[in-house]
Assembly symmetry: C2
Homo-oligomer: 376 residues x 2
């Protein structure tokens, strides 16, 4: 087996290595069935088992109550940002949104389309766009519409490295896009009517969303108002097999849930590990006047995506180039803000964080004399 | 490496073994990048290469002219059966359909929803439903609406084992669901404004559709009439990366296109191989009065899905059970019609067809005396 590097990709991101090793075997022959895992009928006994275990392990790992359905749907989080207003933003209703980054902006755009069609209203309850998303809007700044059909917000923003450490205090049903921090920490389900996440950060490969939706909320969507592919009730009734599902993604998510159970036992433990990992890199930033974090509000700094810069763009580029030579890959920031971004999802190992921190220290000592003002 | 069986699954179906072996390596470390293929950023240079090659190889293998866009979209063929009327069945327009099996029935159902919303009409130009789909409707039986927005039909029906060997003679733009025979034979693109296929039969894993759409047809969809995830023009402009694509499926499809090029050179050669394979099994049926094919019209017999029965349901069950012991898997017919179904897509090897024919012969000689009337 050839050597793997430390992959800081924001998503699709690093998978747990034991999961990859298992998948390599199962691609050829799933549990001695004589068929590879991508070649199993989605209605056969082998896939029944894969799906059944993925659902059960997901429920256990996430402590998801029976009041909520678990759906495995194609199309990622973008499809969910479309399906939510298609189903729930109807005549006379308001969809409330928090604008805290690009994915939130996109969700607001999708909702605008359905508001026009369905006669609803899109309302932005709070935004930090004007400040370049360097912090999150506080509850007291937000003008929540308490009788909104829902409040939709994104718990973690991969581009800016912002993460909610609180649940917004709206009285509306809360829908949360947890694409980049799902199962990275415990979830208090009493707050959420719906949570969705693209799988490609903490849960598995791209091309798949995990949707957790409260039955009571799901029932609020008018019947026969949307095409069958967009109807949550149909997907729930058919246990995510209304159409042929993304079988490999469900398999890989299932293996990832098992890995979480085996490796950590609980999301509390996962959270603790992620805090430890992020601290190593944030300490490297905070203990330097050479590196600067993008996020100004301490409590909103993401444990998943750590964004920072050197004193200038040339050095940022040099940093990423040099890092690559040391086996520290895809540290480039999103093209919209530049700089660096270290994504350290569940499967990213703590050794990689230590190696990055060490590299940062060395890079700083080699380059700080080049930079006027940084030696002050 | 453990032994693999002959897998007659109707889909997800057998993949080419060299493709699986390559995927096993690339899952761990894609081309020495230090990152597995599922862990690559969909905007990074490695995936740029994967996508670029998949598009180029798809165009070359399928001889797809520049007039047509190639899109890799999530959600399989069911999503396409939804998106076509959502985009093209507008006020005062007719969507023409041929009802030749379950997937056609489903597509008609989806269209009915949008006809109601958009003020269009769904018209069934021809159907063999009343005859249990044992043949296809001839052109002279069909009442095509020549100024329809489109004629949608399914080229191959996996459940009944029916396949079109002609293109319907409607003057409307033709949209064809080729989910189960895409790239199993050459396609004359001059006939088609749009072709789509779920990947899980001839092209790759499930969770992915290949969509080939003529630019001129695509432009007929009214602008800003559908949400962005449902807008073909957006997916075309963004080269299938409007949202995070199913990167593993695109990789695996790309590898499958390369395998077709390497192994066969052209779709003519693929077609010849598939004819040879199907003939072995159809001969075994035709040369027996014990086995009976479901499809009555010779010319409509599918080269992809060969459906047949023994003299009774108990023997059908026995047949599948015994076959499994001989490494011939998933021969059970679809639950709606029972009997047997041998799916022999591109990647299914001819040795498996020979082994099945031999098994059929032996099974018949062991069981024909049990069956009254079959010894006549």
């Amino acid at each position: 087996m050839s050597e793997r590097a430390f992959n800081f990709s924001a998503g699709p991101g690093a998978l747990p290595e034991p999961v990859i090793k298992q998948a390599q075997q199962d691609l050829w022959n799933f549990q001695g069935s004589g068929m590879g895992v991508c070649e199993l009928s989605h209605r056969g006994p082998e896939f029944d088992q894969i799906l059944g275990e993925a659902l059960a392990d997901c429920r256990e790992v996430g402590s998801i109550p029976d009041s909520h359905h678990i759906l495995f749907l194609q199309g990622g989080a973008t499809t969910q940002a479309d399906m939510v207003p298609m189903n729930f933003l109807n005549e006379g209703m308001t969809g409330d949104y928090l604008e805290t980054g690009k994915w939130a902006e996109d969700a607001i755009k999708e909702a605008g389309y359905y508001a026009k069609i369905n006669g609803g209203t899109v309302h932005v309850a709070g935004s930090t766009k004007d400040e370049g998303y360097t912090r999150l809007p506080a509850d007291k700044e937000c003008k929540y519409v308490d009788d909104a059909a829902y409040l939709l917000y994104v718990s973690n923003n991969t581009i800016y490295g912002l993460q909610f450490n609180r649940v917004p205090k709206s009285k509306a049903p809360k829908v949360c896009d947890m694409s980049s921090d799902m199962f990275s920490r415990p979830i208090d389900w009493s707050h959420f009517d719906m949570v969705y996440a693209g799988a490609q950060k903490n849960l598995g490969p791209s091309g798949q969303a995990l949707v957790v939706i409260k039955d009571e909320f799901m029932q609020k969507a008018p019947k026969n108002r949307v095409g069958r592919m967009h109807d949550y009730s149909i997907h729930a009734a058919k246990e995510s097999r209304f159409n042929t599902p993304n079988t490999f993604a469900i398999y890989l998510m299932g293996q990832t849930f098992k890995w979480i159970r085996r490796e950590f036992g609980s999301l509390d433990q996962v959270d603790q590990y992620n805090r430890e990992k992020a601290k190593i890199i944030y300490d490297a930033i905070d203990n330097s006047d050479f590196f600067k974090g993008h996020v100004q509000e301490q409590d909103a700094r993401s444990l998943m995506n750590i964004t920072f810069t050197t004193p200038n763009a040339e050095l940022d580029e040099e940093f990423c180039k040099e890092a690559k030579k040391h086996g520290l890959l895809t540290l480039e920031g999103h093209r919209s803000i530049g700089g660096m971004r270290a994504s350290v999802y569940n499967a990213f190992p703590i050794e990689g964080c230590r190696k990055l921190a060490e590299f940062m220290k060395n890079f700083e000592s080699q380059h700080r004399t080049q930079v006027a003002g940084a030696s002050a």
